[in-house]
């Protein structure tokens, strides 16, 4: 049987000179002069090729909240957003705290096949913060879990956190912490500042995040283990992480697209589409987060894609759920905040959206340099295109996007996963 070759015709890797990328048997077989290669041609002239994006923080809601999202709909949204791998957080129902649940999610991802779905295992049983879940069983399951997180809840007990950090060293795991000191954030609704006082909404002070990060980096140093900090949201957190990295502590961090763009001022509308945890912060925080991502102090963009059914947002603020959609807008927000501002070039963007997140999550097969022999997980984008966000057209089951109606720059055009097109011409290929 003749080998099928797919050719990305005239594409510019990392925005550099145009070439033909020839893909065969799931890997990049050849990088040839533009217009020279033969095979099944996907026209890509003028477009930019990047390694497929890796999102180490999504909520796919399955099992348990299939009304909000499923692994299948979340995978579709991810593929359309340029991702070839996503990590699915453990706060499902039942919680992903056993080998059985993580294998279920892993199998659902395989069955859909649009992106590689890496289940995140819970750190503690039922996210209860008291007893370690069977981390080893999840690590050795078919899902090969390497990232563990109680995301949505903080592992607030210092002794439990220490044990978790130590324990996962046995299988090269990482603890991804949702840094939120619970006693400082009882009933918290928004960033604590002048505005929260005026709006009468209980404040979520930055120190509740920063104090946990400070404790955890010291614990990670003490036990020489890997810590990952989820959704960093304040300038103060950046300072702590920078200090920790300067000491050689094995800490990595992510920032969400919405924390790179949106600020707390939006909360004055009391529209729950802006309700998110951690909350939207100030413009000074946004500036610090962008600079930290540019400098590499923050390693990755991760969406914290958090679908919620309409009724959980179409209500008064306090009754609404926390969270925002992110998968289908992440790339455009990255272009808007990091590329168009000149803070990152395309190679550096690939580093923050693919290379480093893949490394943090040990997502083997992802985050590779676009070169001959590398797995053909490739995202092809149009940097010059713009589009209007219409949540009703999203592949996600939910509609809670804070960008509704905005015109955003940059569009995902084609995506190859293991050499197979998942997105072509901006639409799902299968």
């Amino acid at each position: 049987m003749p080998q099928v070759k797919t050719v990305l015709r005239g594409v510019r890797p990392y925005g550099e000179d145009p070439v033909d990328i020839v893909v065969a048997a799931g890997v990049i077989a050849e990088i040839a002069a533009a217009g020279s290669a033969a095979g099944r041609v996907i026209e890509a002239s003028g477009l930019i090729a990047l390694p497929g994006f890796v999102d180490i923080h999504t909520h796919l809601r399955e099992p348990g909240r299939e009304d909000a999202e499923t692994v299948e709909t979340g995978s579709r949204a991810a593929a359309l957003g340029g991702f070839t791998a996503v990590f699915a957080m453990a706060n499902t129902s039942p919680v992903a705290d056993t080998a059985g649940v993580v294998e279920q999610v892993w199998h659902l991802g395989k069955a859909t096949g649009l992106v590689d779905v890496f289940p995140v295992g819970a750190v503690t049983v039922g996210l209860g913060g008291e007893q370690l879940a069977e981390l080893g069983a999840m690590a050795t399951s078919a899902a090969q879990v390497r990232m563990f997180s109680d995301d949505g809840k903080c592992v607030h007990d210092a002794a439990i956190m220490r044990r978790a950090l130590e324990y996962v060293k046995a299988f090269d795991g990482v603890i991804a912490q949702h840094a939120q000191e619970p006693r400082l954030t009882v009933d918290a609704q928004m960033n604590e500042g002048v505005l929260s006082g005026q709006l009468g909404l209980t404040g979520w002070p930055g120190v509740a995040e920063e104090s946990i990060i400070a404790r955890d980096v010291l614990l990670a140093e003490h036990v020489d283990s890997r810590l990952h900090v989820c959704h960093v949201s304040t300038a103060g957190s950046v300072e702590v992480i920078k200090w920790a990295k300067s000491r050689g502590i094995k800490v990595t961090a992510e920032v969400t697209p919405h924390h790179l763009l949106l600020t707390e001022d939006l909360v004055a509308s009391y529209d729950p589409v802006y309700k998110v945890n951690p909350p939207l912060r100030t413009s000074a925080d946004v500036t610090a987060l962008r600079a930290a991502l540019a400098a590499g102090t923050i390693d990755a963009i991760a969406t914290d894609h958090a679908p919620h059914p309409h009724e959980d947002k179409d209500c008064e603020w306090a009754a609404a759920a926390f969270g925002m959609l992110g998968l289908q807008t992440a790339f455009s927000i990255a272009v808007l905040t990091m590329i168009n501002s000149g803070l990152l070039d395309w190679r550096a963007l690939a580093d923050r959206m693919s290379v480093r997140p893949a490394r943090i999550g040990r997502a083997h097969g992802h985050g590779h340099e676009l070169k001959v022999g590398a797995p053909a997980n490739i995202c092809v984008v149009d940097p010059g295109a713009s589009w209007v966000v219409e949540p009703a057209t999203f592949a996600s089951k939910s509609r809670n996007s804070p960008y509704s109606g905005m015109t955003l720059p940059g569009k995902v055009i084609h995506v190859l996963k293991a050499g197979k097109p998942t997105v072509e011409g901006g639409d799902l290929a299968c």
Binding site: Q189, S196, Q198, S269, C315
Partner: protein, 316 residues
């Protein structure tokens, strides 16, 4: 103006218009026949997600004196406690043709949401939302202060007011700080630092932790209710300590200038933030506040539903 959501939405002209309208309505209410035909055929719904008999009754009497049809909708259990959602309640009220919805809700911003989410067409009046605002309370307080200290006319330029107590959780304090400043008064909020909101230094008022220092320099002092439950969340060590440091008793009354008045939005914790003899003393104006509340709410209903054109200038 279609809604009354925040005292901050009122400029000095519209605030004075409400106060003046209330004054005119009050003078007529003293007559034997207390009813106006103004809002005949209009429907006012009192939508109360929190128990507040006094505020509900005040709005109910106000609407009835204007001949409106009044529906009391005690929506026990908001969507937070998985009762009927605010949206479904609103859609019901819209379907039955409410012209105005007076809403009391435990969640800050609920009236704002009701007014802006597109669920209803009618006017929304905030009768207290969470720890956010209570604009008609501020209006009736301003009305009462104006009556005693400014002969019942004009603004409150130069009047000095202390607001004392749980500023952090008080919607009354937020609305009063905004409205009194708009009217030209100088406000000082007084509380232990734990009961002041983060960022209070940027509010349009002065801040003090020392009640004794403030009292000699004010014309009116407004005592706020302090929930003793706050003690369990470590906002202060004990009821006794709070009362000693921030309670208004006879000794502290002696620090006030002789003309100064004492307000309280009620209900009072006698012996906690205010001693019984101060509460019953001749400089306490709490009973007047209640009566003025009816006039203010009549004025607000009248202006929103009938009288106030978009330029805010229509006369009675």
């Amino acid at each position: 103006m279609r809604h009354l959501l925040s005292a901050g939405d009122l400029d000095v002209d519209s605030a004075c218009l409400i106060l003046d309208t209330a004054a005119q309505l009050a003078s007529v209410t003293d007559r034997t026949v207390k009813k106006f035909p103004t809002l005949r055929g209009r429907t006012v719904v009192n939508l109360f997600f929190e128990d507040s008999t006094r505020t509900r009754i005040s709005f109910e009497i106000a609407a009835k004196r204007l001949s409106a049809d009044v529906i009391n909708f005690a929506a026990k259990g908001s969507s937070v406690s998985k009762g009927e959602s605010l949206k479904d309640t609103a859609l019901t009220l819209e379907a039955v043709g409410a012209d105005a919805v007076v809403i009391r809700h435990g969640s800050s911003g609920a009236p704002h949401r009701l007014a802006t989410a597109g669920w209803i067409q009618g006017s929304v009046i905030n009768a207290g939302d969470g720890t956010h605002e209570h604009p008609t309370q501020a209006l009736l307080d301003a009305f009462t202060i104006r009556h005693h200290l400014r002969d019942g006319t004009g603004d409150l330029a130069g009047v000095r007011v202390a607001i004392v107590g749980d500023i952090l959780h008080s919607r009354v304090a937020r609305s009063n700080v905004l409205l009194l400043r708009t009217l030209g008064a100088y406000v000082t909020v007084v509380a232990p630092p734990t009961l002041l909101p983060y960022g209070v230094s940027q509010w349009p008022c002065a801040v003090s932790y020392d009640l004794d220092e403030v009292l000699p320099h004010v014309d009116a002092v407004m005592m706020l209710r302090v929930q003793s439950e706050r003690m369990h969340a470590a906002y202060f060590p004990s009821v006794n300590e709070y009362s000693r440091r921030y309670g208004l008793d006879v000794r502290r009354m002696g620090l006030l200038p002789p003309h100064a008045i004492v307000l309280h939005p009620g209900p009072m914790n006698r012996g906690m933030e205010i001693s019984a003899d101060v509460a019953d003393g001749e400089r306490a104006v709490m009973v007047e506040q209640v009566a003025n509340g009816v006039s203010i709410r009549m004025a607000v209903l009248y202006l929103l539903l009938g009288g106030m054109a978009d330029d805010g200038k229509k006369e009675i």
